[in-house]
């Protein structure tokens, strides 16, 4: 085999390999959700009430504390879980009691959930309980929405002013 022919063959092999790599650099196309569907995301970071109210310490209890750590009140750090429900259409799509984060359980509760739905009209209702109550909800919001194909619809919660945000 002549040198020129051999080098040509070598180059053709290398070029073909590189072309294959270039082709797979953005092909085949990946579709994450079925055609004609939309994505609803429920996400928020919210701290519920403390587990217990602050308690005034007695004079004896204060006296027992080291001088540099004496305080009037004892306020438990731990927070309650946040209870949340989400209706998408007629069904309850999500229902959870979200534990507070942090080693001492004093951080905010957090959630990030994605729901893939066919595009169309939906009745959306979000409910949250973040206090000591065992029945009912502290925050609710419901709306009728129209989801476009590939739309990303976000259900967030804002503390100030407190309430759900649909966007």
């Amino acid at each position: 085999m002549s040198k020129a022919l051999r080098v040509s063959g070598q180059f053709v092999v290398i070029a073909a390999l590189f072309a294959g790599v270039a082709a797979f650099a953005n092909w085949p196309v990946y579709r994450q959700t079925p055609r004609g569907s939309a994505v609803v995301v429920l996400t928020f970071v919210h701290g519920a009430d403390r587990r217990a109210d602050c308690r005034r310490l007695t004079a004896e209890e204060i006296a027992k504390l080291p001088p540099n750590m004496r305080r009037v009140q004892d306020c438990p750090r731990g927070r309650r879980p946040v209870y949340v429900e989400l209706d998408l259409g007629k069904d309850v799509a999500y229902r959870a009691s979200l534990a507070p984060t942090g080693i001492a359980g004093d951080g905010p509760s957090r959630v990030y959930q994605r729901f893939v739905l066919p595009a169309g009209q939906y009745h959306v209702a979000a409910r949250m309980r973040d206090t000591a109550r065992s029945e009912g909800f502290d925050y609710t919001r419901q709306e009728k929405i129209a989801l476009e194909p590939d739309q990303m619809f976000v259900i967030d919660f804002r503390a100030e002013p407190a309430g759900f945000v649909f966007r």
Binding site: V21, N26, Y30
Partner: protein, 531 residues
């Protein structure tokens, strides 16, 4: 299970390597240059990245526009550079993955090789982190997809207080500072990657970090051609109000991302954790093979340093003389780095089987497979060979001849000092000697095939003496699976020897040997015969 996977992979590599060797030759074979090509593509990525950074704007609103501008308005230089950056990154992944699979297939990760194997694992993570942060910077639809999926994966780990993915749920939640952070990561992580790449080759003697110029030149031209044929383009501006549900995925960097959708994030982390844990443990999984390391015999060592020079694992260093002999240095073996390949034995000028001492001793030797044992086995094999022409085969443990009977096996053919060939022929122990090593591009001990060739070509000490009839010495390079090829080459050499045996040994012209090779395709030694 692992053994089966290795056998299948090895078979696959050997099927590919032989035609590659034929076309490229052992020196240019890309499969024998994977590490060097990896470094080469890293430098292309680095240089093209610096060039692109001149045009890149890190602002949230301007990032996409700046990339689009350089791709369209300056397509002939910055656009091509973008394609170089993208495709060289992909090729780097290909080199790393094939390199890993090949080292696994050829069992190149046990013993002292654990260090390179283990330090190769963070390279994979750093490489993927570099690539993923790069895709993020373009801030197109694919970047949006990568941002959300990466964040969701990271959010699954109980590390971050607030879900990172919340940054990408709506316009206004993302700031330019985030892009500055990403640029920093996209520069810092590759620098750290380069550092680990350096650590990766620390314990390797003569690591190949630059491919042959011809291969590098062809790669550059091919990369330029591919960049013009299929330029790297963006996939439309990221729109946070729309889910990036359909994207042209880079299957080299992002193959795990679709799995998060199919398996779930926990399963993906579990898979990655288990996979890399298994990879990390593999050097210590059975079967563990460890022969006794080489030992220096100072009475026969003159400190010539040939053994240190030839060792493929940096296991020998020259230190100040300790026995009062009039030589400045002596060889010292680091047992934790020695794989007992015996290449040092073949390099030692004291390793001559002609020695008449009661017990054959050399300057450096393998306790389990000493030069004395080798000479005894050669003599025994020669006396057992009666069929004319008498052919004696010295075969590597890892080559195609290892499983045959009646041959003398060695941990590496480079363990056989050239004087052993002289000994066999001058003592009329055989009519010819075939030295059968591993496949040329996949030498088990990295440099054994190269050193053997150079010693026989008289370009590397210790030389094959000129009095040795070179046409009576053949080299056969076959992998362990190429048994038939080995047998075919041995039969061809035997036929060739038969033609020589009629007359006393004499030099044969290259042209005559070439004609013989063309007639029955005997073997490579035909081209190595001297006139």
């Amino acid at each position: 299970m692992i053994a089966l996977a290795r056998a299948i992979l090895r078979r696959g590599f050997e099927l590919i390597e032989r035609p590659f060797n034929r076309l490229f030759g052992p020196a240019l074979n890309p499969l024998a240059q994977l590490g060097a090509l990896g470094f080469f593509f890293f430098w292309i990525v680095a240089v093209s990245g610096i060039y692109l950074f001149i045009f890149f704007n890190t602002g949230i609103e301007r990032a996409y526009e700046s990339v689009e501008h350089l791709t369209t308005a300056y397509w002939f230089h910055a656009g091509v550079m973008r394609s170089f950056h993208r495709y060289a990154s992909d090729l780097l992944v290909v080199m790393v993955v094939v390199h890993l699979l090949r080292e696994f297939a050829y069992d190149h990760y046990r013993g002292v090789r654990w260090f390179s194997w283990l330090t190769g694992l963070p390279i994979i993570w750093l490489l993927y982190t570099s690539g993923i942060t790069g895709y993020w910077l373009v801030w197109d639809k694919l970047a949006h997809f990568v941002a959300i999926t990466t964040s969701e994966l990271l959010d699954w780990l109980p590390i971050f207080g607030e879900p990172i993915a919340r940054n990408f749920i709506a316009t206004g939640t993302l700031t330019s500072r985030f892009f500055t952070l990403m640029v920093f990561m996209h520069v810092a992580v590759p620098l750290f990657l380069l550092f680990i790449m350096w650590v990766h080759i620390l314990r390797i003697s003569r690591p190949k970090v630059n491919p042959p110029r011809m291969l590098a030149a062809m790669s550059l031209v091919a990369l330029a051609g591919v960049s013009l044929w299929n330029p790297a383009l963006s996939q439309g501006h990221a729109d946070l109000t729309k889910a990036p549900v359909e994207v042209g995925l880079d299957w080299f960097y992002l193959p795990v991302y679709p799995l998060t959708n199919i398996w779930g994030k926990g399963a993906v982390w579990g898979f990655l954790g288990a996979f890399f844990l298994m990879l990390g443990l593999m050097p210590w999984l059975p079967p563990l093979r460890r022969a006794k390391p080489a030992q220096v015999d100072l009475a026969h060592c003159n400190g010539c340093a040939r053994c240190a020079d030839d060792c493929p694992y940096e296991a020998i260093r020259m230190v100040a003389r300790t026995d009062g002999m009039p030589f400045p240095t002596q060889a010292q073996v680091n047992p934790s780095l020695c794989v007992s390949c015996g290449i040092c034995v073949g390099a030692c000028p004291s390793s001559t089987p002609f020695r008449r001492s009661t017990e054959l001793r050399t300057g450096i030797d393998l306790p389990d497979r000493s030069l004395r044992m080798l000479r005894e086995r050669v003599v025994a094999a020669a006396s057992a060979t009666q069929e004319a022409p008498r052919l004696l085969i010295l075969a590597c443990d890892h080559g195609g001849g290892a499983a045959h009977t009646g041959i003398v096996t060695l941990p590496c053919v480079a363990m056989a000092p050239p004087s052993l060939i002289d000994f066999i022929l001058s003592r009329n122990l055989a009519d010819g000697v075939a030295v059968a090593g591993c496949a040329e591009s996949a030498c088990y001990h990295r440099l054994g095939a190269a050193w053997t060739r150079q010693r026989f070509d008289r370009t590397r000490d210790p030389y094959l003496r000129t009095r040795v009839a070179r046409e009576r010495v053949a080299t056969i390079w076959t992998s362990a699976l190429e048994v038939k090829r080995f047998e075919k080459e041995v039969a061809a050499f035997r036929r060739f020897l038969a033609t020589l045996s009629a007359a006393p040994p004499r030099p044969v012209a290259i042209s005559a040997m070439a004609a013989s090779a063309a007639a029955d395709r005997p073997m490579q030694p035909s081209a190595q015969v001297e006139s």
